[in-house]
Structures are given as structure tokens and as C-alpha cells.
Assembly symmetry: C2
Homo-oligomer: 403 residues x 2
Amino acid sequence: MSNDRPAARGDLVPSAVLGLLGTRGPTSRADIARTLDISPATVTQVTKLLISRGLVTELDHAPSQGGRPARLLGLVERQVGAIGAKVTANHVAIVDVGLDGTVRSSTSHPFNPDAPDALDALGHILGSAVDDHAGTLLGVGVGIPGSVDSQASGVVDAPTLGWTDAQVGPVLRRALGVPVLVENDVNTLAVADRLYGEGRDHSTYLVVTIGRGIGCGIVVDGALYRGAAGGAGEIGHVPLTLDGPLCGCGSRGCLEAHIGEDALVRTALERGVIGPRGTVAGLRQAAEAGDPAAREIYREAGERLGSALAGVVHTIDPEIVIILGEGIDAWQHWEPGFEASFRGHLVPSRRGLPFVIEAWDEFNWALGAASLVLASPFDSTGATGDQGELVRARLHTSVEATS
Amino acid sequence: MSNDRPAARGDLVPSAVLGLLGTRGPTSRADIARTLDISPATVTQVTKLLISRGLVTELDHAPSQGGRPARLLGLVERQVGAIGAKVTANHVAIVDVGLDGTVRSSTSHPFNPDAPDALDALGHILGSAVDDHAGTLLGVGVGIPGSVDSQASGVVDAPTLGWTDAQVGPVLRRALGVPVLVENDVNTLAVADRLYGEGRDHSTYLVVTIGRGIGCGIVVDGALYRGAAGGAGEIGHVPLTLDGPLCGCGSRGCLEAHIGEDALVRTALERGVIGPRGTVAGLRQAAEAGDPAAREIYREAGERLGSALAGVVHTIDPEIVIILGEGIDAWQHWEPGFEASFRGHLVPSRRGLPFVIEAWDEFNWALGAASLVLASPFDSTGATGDQGELVRARLHTSVEATS
DNA sequence: TCCCGTTAGTTTGCTCCTAAATAAAGGTGT
DNA sequence: ACACCTTTATTTAGGAGCAAACTAACGGGA
């Protein structure tokens, strides 16, 4: 039980203002007040402080909106950024991004999570990225395909990597000496969408990924929803059938066991669409070439996804559903099955629920992880814990030194 | 987008303290601070104010816990309470409860929601309950089997009552002249559980009802989760099968269409367990008497419920699941199918998730509705809106007059 | 032209709550 | 007995943000 009061925030408002200017570009005081939902008086005070500290400057006047024209405020240009990494079963993708989310560099590194010293190896890979970073580094975000106890602690259970109770956060913090935030990979995408995607215009939404697994990030009132133990949104293991195919989790009939990549490949093999060494790429090519059996596999998968997502929508009641992931490039084949099933299984009042398909490439995962760090100034829920505090502190002091 | 700041709170803390003392009984200052997550200093100040106003008194010392013994604080006894009502398709159940949740009276009234003046009739029924109330009435809570736009506004869509866009809140407020909070009936149970049930010890949980329909209330971090449009937790319409029985909502294969009361009765009829005019009570008697076909119907229903709840658990990640409702008296027949299916469809790390079955009688629904009002002093999320403010104001001033 | 409505930003005086230091009142080990 | 710990409660000083009232700067209509 905890009747959450506002709780001790350090100087969250200044950080949020800096973060906003960093991600949205020049903004007027009035706009800041509206966007962050704080009073104009507070904005005046905070910006006065930030200007006196040399972090922020007044820019041009914006054209009048019918009244006094706004004076835009902008961040004093500095080299401030974050590093994001996505860990997979065979490699680590890393991006270096600026405050506004622009990717400055992206690299990919082979990685073996089964090795006994896997975490140290990960520390080395990230260490060189940290060394390569020019300017002030706010922190490192790490996306993991598994469940994470909390972003700030960073202890991980990831069956697909073979990790149980892996001390990702502690080890990396010791190795890197900068704030490290660890989160489930799908959740990082949800956070990224809030900063740069559809989430800017919606406060309660689902981010659904299709690919090897099926995942779901849940954002409620602008904040990531993690559940009691950080395991919310595990929709890959929602049961679709009482006795279906065996899933990697040990249960039967999980969504993932029906429409995950492995399941699609298995079905395609059974139906002779691809050969014994065929892959999901082969299945997609067959569908692209017009093979009806291949298309039927995707249609069925879309149908199943639609029905499962309808269930999730009934549970969560979001404003919008965002679908992306490495499997998205075959979406045109999913869609015929999906839309009818999704809408058909929704109650009438929610049948018009919008969903959007977002473009995708490998490094979206890593960018998502980086946005964990970039979003931490907005963190009003305390999800980022002490590491978030550290990021805020670095955002502040980064420029005091050089002023 | 709204990066929710604490936002304008009236004097929320004094109200929360009063509410806490009302629902939990005598409590020490230190305990109040811990429970409400506010600083001891604030508690000292607030209690000083409340004592000077004659609302609160110091009571005995509690036995020492190894340090200075706590001095308990208690509410000055007054006649303060709330009225709760549950609206069904053929009657309205009403209870009158005290601050501590004790039921002072309970009545049941015939009601026809299809009548053109149904809302006025409801106003009259509740009006006499309000008139009968002795002492200060904090407000009226109304539980409705349908979706409610917001507690404070109280506009209702309730298919089972035949109501669309029904102005329940506005009409009742005009008729009664006291604060009126309207909420989905299952959600009221979730709120009640937070005050008086399992929810005192858990901050994130599901309250699942079985009966005519299947419902789910979601409490996250101690606050009711309503979703973007107040429709969260509609698990009755989670699709179980792609092409199953037709549901009242127009879709096929909904959970409710499989295991709602009507579905159980239909299945029992099909299998010859009950006659053409048989009811769910008849089915239960048959199961009680040992009829294997009747027991199989319940077992299958339990199996389906278990698999659907496993899906919801994977989505929400609660600490505990609470099951109750008018169908609960047959639970012993659900259980064999339920537990195996529920646990069997959970991922290993969550397989030990606790669930509890709570006892049930008709007036639990109405008590739940009343606790909407009693819980509003705790409302830090603003879910109760202006009506919650009014309740708080009444809680304060109720005693100023008599002091 | 001059006044009004509108939007932007600032100043002032608060309220609420907190952290930190301190006091109060009991235990416990030697 | 004494020192020391723990838990409870209060005091003090002050931070953070707000509402309300103000100034500032523009457009437009009569």
C-alpha cells in the first residue's frame, strides 16, 4: 500500500525543461508551461535560473498568435547525448544519440550471451562506445529481451539469452562509471515512442512488437507501466488455445507459440511452403511471390494477433495501438487477417480504435534504449530511481563546468 | 501528453488523515506518516490542526515497539457515513454505511431500467435513503454494470440495462443535492477491497467477478486503473475462440459468451442437465448432488476462466488476484478446472501467483459503491474530480458546525 | 486613432510539504 | 546504574510551485 504523494523529487522541473528544449527544440515559456503542465510563474522562475546558469538562452521572437509574440528559448549548444544498446542472442546493437534523438553513430558487435563472462564482455563493448562518445554523456540505456526488476537496479531474467538473475545493471555501472538504465526491450520502444513517435499525441497506448517474439509495452498517462514485478505486457504468453503448440516458456497455446517467428517457420515447413532449411525470409518471399499457402499462414497469424490484441485492448483500454518490430516488413500479409479479426472481436464502442504501423530498422531497438536516458528528466513516477537522479545531475552540471 | 505534476490539491492531506482514522481506527502519528507516505512533520502539523478543530483526539499509548511508545489518535465519534447503491436490471440494492465500513442498514428496491423515467425513479429511491440517513452524509456512490466516462461526471453506457449515454451523475446530483460518484460496479469492488479487503496489503491487484457477466477491476499502485475511456478491465469480452458462441456485444467467442451465467445455463440445457426452464441454481444443485455432467460444465468453465485470467495476468502483472461475485458460491466446482489451467498457462516465474476467493452476498455490490465515497479522501489521482472535493469538504465541515 | 481583446511573461505573497535537528520516552546489554 | 539504541513526536528553516494580479506587446475593429 502506498498512497503515492508527489514524493521527493529533486529539481525535477528544471530538468524537465532542459529535456523538453533538448527534444522539442526552441519553445516559448508559455508553451513549456502548457506542455509540462506547470504554471507560467514556475516557468519564469526556472528559466531565469537556467539562463543565469548559462544553460539556456533567449532566441528570436515567434510570430504573434494574436497577442504578444512569444520569445523562444533554446538550449545552449553543447555536446550532450546518450548511448543506447540492444542485446540479442548473437549481437549487440549500439547507437550514440544527441539530446534531440538524432543518431550520431550506430554499430553492431557480435556477442555471445551464453559465455560465462558475457556481462564483462558486454561491459567492454559498451566501454569502447562510452570512450568514443564526444562531449558529455548523460548515461547508457540497455534494452534486454526479458524481464527487468527495475530500471535503476537492472537485474535481469531473460530466457532467450539464458540469463537468470543476471546483474546487468550493477556490473555495467561498475564497468562504465556512468548512469546505466536497464529495461525490457519492448518497454524501451514504448518510451521512445513517447518522445519521438505517436506517443507525443497520446498519453495511454500500447506498443506491440512482432518478430521472434511478440511483446507489448504499455504507457499509461504518459508513464511506462511496468506491473508489480516489471513483467507487464508479456502478451507473447497470453494463452490463445487450451491445448496448442508447446511454447518456450513451458506452457501450451501461447500467442508466441502460434505466431512467433519460429512458429511461422514451423508451420511453413509443415505445409511445404519452405524447405527444411527455410527461414522466415523465405516464407516472406513466397508470400511476396504470391504463394497462396504462404499468404494463408500470414493471414492466420494476423487473425490470431488481432484476436489477442482485442483481448489486451479490452483489458487496458488504450487510446491507440502502435505496431512495429522486425517482423513488420511483412505486415501487408498480416493485415488482411488482422484488421477483420481485431475489430470483429472488439465491443462496438471500441471498434473504431485506431492502430498505426511504424517503420522499422534494426537500430530502433537501440535508439529506444537510449531514449530511456533521454526520457529520465521527464520521469515523474520515479521509475528511473537513483540512476535517473544521476542523469538529471549530469544534465545540470555538464554545462556548469564549461560556463 | 501530460507529465502529471502533483497538480492542484485542496487540503488533501487532512482529509486523507481523517479518512485513514475513519477506516483503519486508532493510529499513531508515525503510522499515519508511513501509511500515507508523508513526512512525520506534516502529520504533526495536520493532526494539531485537526485536534484544535475538535475532529480528532489523542487516545491511549500503544505498547512500545522498542522505542518511545506511540500515542494513538482517533476520530471524535460522529454520525458520518455514506450511501452506496448497486443498480441491476430488475432492482436496486442500497446500503447505508459508517466511516469504518460498517453496514448500518441495507434495503432492496424493485427497479425497471427500461422505463422512460428510470433515472428519476432511481433518484426517488435514493432520495428516500438519503432522507433516512441519520447524521452527516458524505455522499452517494452508485455502481453500474457498464462503462462510466468518469466518476465525477457519471455518464453511463450500460448494455445490460439498455442505457446509452445515460446522465446518471447529473440527474442524481440534481435530485439528491449531495456529492454523487458513479462507477462501473466491478471497479467499486476493487475500491472496496483496497479499504477493507485484500487490497490493504497489496498495491497492485485484480478483482475478478464471476456471475451473469465476467468483470475485472484493476488497481495499480493503490489507485483504480480506469483506462483511457473508463473501459479498462472488460475481460468479459476477451476473445477465447476465433469462432465461438455469439456474445451480447455482437462479437463471437467472448469469455462471457463461454462462461457467463447465460452460457452455463445454455450448455446445461443442451446437455440435458437442466430442463428448458432451468436456471443456474438448478445447475449448481445438480453439481452439488454429484451429477458428473454438471460438474464437467463447471470444470470446463473453470478451465476457460483460468486460461483467460492467465492472459490478463501476463498483461497486467499484478501481485494477487481476488475472485468473487454472485457466482462464487459454486466455486468449489470451478476450482478443479481453474487452478490447473490458470497456473499451467502462466510463465514459470509467475506460476506461484497467489489468488484468493472472497465470500459474497448481494450487498457487497452496494457496499463497494459506498466505499467509492469513503475512499475519496485517499484519492490522490483526481479520479473523483469535483465530487471528491465536495466529499472532502463535507468531511471537514461536518464537524465544524457541531464543535 | 484609440480602445479592447488576446496572448506572453513577471511579480508577489502565499500554501503545502519536506529535511534536519532536537526532544521525549521507552527498551537493552554490561 | 549507566550508556546506548530505537522509535516517536516536535520544532525550525526553507524549498517548490501556485494563484492572482500585474505589466508587456501585439492585432483589429469602430
